[in-house]
Symmetry: D2
Subunit: 263 residues, 4 copies
């Protein structure tokens, strides 16, 4: 890792995850009182004035949409926020960089019900999450080691789904999805030329596969209904760690499918 | 069933599926020679002049996008179409109302490899499919009996996913998805007020659920990663029979999900 | 709830789960020091002398098979047990009533790696689990409210799997499985006469469905291979709460299946 | 391929599947009348005298348990068999080597409902299936190319399930399962030393994985219930082609799992 002009750069061997895990260990091994102090040092999530916050906090809180709460939502938020603080003795902490106002309200409502011990750990895990996302933002990763792969299995016929067309898009908030590539699965149901994303293209963010399942089963002759139950199958997923392998497969019949984070 | 001014109307007891099954039985019970004659009576799927077709065929073929093939695709289509006809002795038949040019090319390529006996049945099943879709188009269904339901199970915690927000959209070709409704699952993980669609709203077409899975698991405290692997989960499906129950559930953990046509 | 001659009896309205949740709340709301005292009051899990334990603890620990560890396992257990105690300041607690020696060793190894805060909660959750199992053992439940249901979906054809034969067995340690019943699914893929188990027959324990999937798909004509990939499909599951509904369905094609705790 | 003393031996390059596909092509390309003649040449499946059959047919039919039908089953079988013959003009053909009487009755009942064209193809596919199984029986395969692999994914935590114990058994009719091996998954959730079966050990037949899922999640700390819903998870599957790769994975959370024929 190098620091040049105040900017962090990870060399080709280090992983941002390793750095984060080291930071996390320091916190986890600290005594209870120091952890509590850390939690109490966090600013309130708020729906009004942001001036007093650090610039990172300002950016994050603006994104969360908390500034656009309706009156009813604002009242609910303020009430629960107050209850939270008096129950647990520290402010409600949430990694809001990718959260909407709905996520914030749902998380606050859910966590307000926690026992004190459980919530203490939940709050700490949010602190770690915020650290993770600020690290990702602050560090320029020269050569991310992560990559994205796919595999399509035809569970109606017990074979790899070969010759299935699929698209990959990158999603941006408030914008049209960005088309990245079209693929055609090979005989083993995999992408023909290795990972769909790797190296500099493997950017943390939200992506979408679109599988042309209807066309595939039309070719196999598996359909008899008019409008197929499954035609274009979208799978939307987040890539969160630039150094990990994400395998996002599809298991599909004309009437069912599943997906999962594989390896 | 009533015929008024040349328009068919199904009364509240009949089902369009029953009518179709009766028509299908007549064909299925016909001798081989009559079936072959039926197949041979179909027009060629074509990428040029449509004037000679019946108006139903014209509409259907226009939709398929066969008129917008690239030169390479056109050549491939014409070649395979010719091979098909000499191998099987009847024209390539495909229910193209909901098909794209990709579906047509994929189906033609796949079916060209069939044995003669198998393809004879495949072609007949397309005839039935065309009949089905024309029936749906021709008949005014007073009171469709079909309905759409949902159920969300949290497979990480082994419980119904309660309080999960979801949206329902209707999809239209070349247009923005039409927002229909927002729901919040009840304690049993189901829609709180019965079916999402029923009666006059249960229109044959393509729909999309969007499940706010990220918010749900934020409330449960199941997340530790920054950007969740699963946040908004879309499920896109076709409703093909106005008189059937479509149950389209979601089984979901923070790292995997599946769906299926249920009952 | 009645106590007669020292035996607890739950009347038809109470649920053992409600009683347990009340007991749990008392513990959860206690201050940190009292919880720690509770953890420290637990006996060591041990592989030698049991005389000093309460009779409940003796029975539980005998069942776990810790008395039949090999020399190598015993050494590993004793070492890890010592490390655990010095790291966390309380003995390793595990609800061993249904555990084998493998479970004990696996759990000890895994939990030894926990942070102190996390393990404190994990140990408390084992205390609650032990309480739960002792309650189940101590209380005579007049009329359990739980029941067991099933549903079979054919994901290759998108329909309920009707007319599928299935068996239900109860499993007993070291004994042959006890055959309970044979069922044939109805048109909706469900059991024809309501729950497979309910009332007095709904006994906490381990059960097994056996689905005759090969016969079902032979009837549907979906098979072409010689020996089917899936023929008899066993699903083995534990019923833990006498007052809950356990829905244990099967989603199956000739080449894949899934199951889950449903509702 | 060599024929020595009337025994067939496949050399290290040939695959029994290739030989079978060639035989199948000869039949598939024959004219309709010759196919019909082939179907009509098959003996009746029968529940009485077997003397008149070829020795292969005798062995196969004895195994099917048709000789042990109850009176009611025998009557049902004879009636349906007669209806079948008069509807289709050829005897009911079923590959019975691995079938029970339940499979036979289910298949007969299901196929009796087929249209004539469809059943003609179904009967031919049974002829191919019988050929396949007789080939497997007749040919000594020097060096099978098939192998069996496994992979376990933890869908609750989004990671490979490492350090999960599993057993492999071979199942024999009317006998205790034969224990073959115990494995411990590696960091990637796979078997540590390559395929579980390969070469001479890869024998066509029925097998069972047993995954110790309860122990795994006890180590991860995912359980809170007393008796786990999933503890030992059995997966039973048939290996039918000695030259193919069978990948039989497990995707599992504490409350759900799925498996499939992978690649």
């Amino acid at each position: 890792m190098n620091i040049v002009d105040g900017n962090l750069t990870l060399d080709s061997v280090s992983k941002v995850g390793d750095l984060w895990r080291e930071m996390k260990t320091v916190v986890d091994n600290a005594p209870y009182e120091r952890k509590l102090k850390l939690l109490r040092a966090h600013p309130d999530l708020c729906c009004e004035k942001l001036e007093s916050l650090s610039s990172s906090s300002q950016v994050e809180q603006t994104r969360s949409g908390l500034q656009s709460l309706t009156d009813g939502e604002k009242e609910r938020f303020v009430t629960m926020n107050g209850q939270y603080k008096s129950k647990f003795g520290f402010p409600f902490i949430l990694a809001v960089r990718h959260a909407t106002k709905y996520t914030v309200l749902a998380a606050l409502e859910g966590r307000l019900k926690n026992e004190v011990d459980v919530e203490f750990l939940a709050a700490l895990s949010q602190v770690h999450k915020i650290a993770w996302m600020r690290l990702l933002h602050a560090i320029h990763i020269e050569n991310p080691k992560g990559f994205l792969t796919c595999h399509v299995l035809d569970t109606a016929n017990g074979v790899p789904a070969s010759n299935m067309r699929l698209h990959l898009h990158r999603l941006h908030p408030q914008e049209q999805p960005e088309f990245l590539a079209e693929f055609q699965t090979n005989d083993d149901g995999r992408l023909p030329n290795g990972p769909a994303l790797k190296g500099q293209d493997f950017i943390v963010g939200t992506y979408r596969w679109t599988f042309f399942v209807g066309d595939y089963f039309a070719q196999k002759g598996n359909y008899t209904s008019g409008l197929p139950f499954l035609d274009q199958v979208p799978i939307q997923f987040g890539l969160d760690d630039p150094d990990q392998h994400y395998h996002v497969p599809l298991l599909v019949s004309p009437w069912s499918y599943s997906t999962y984070r594989g390896s």
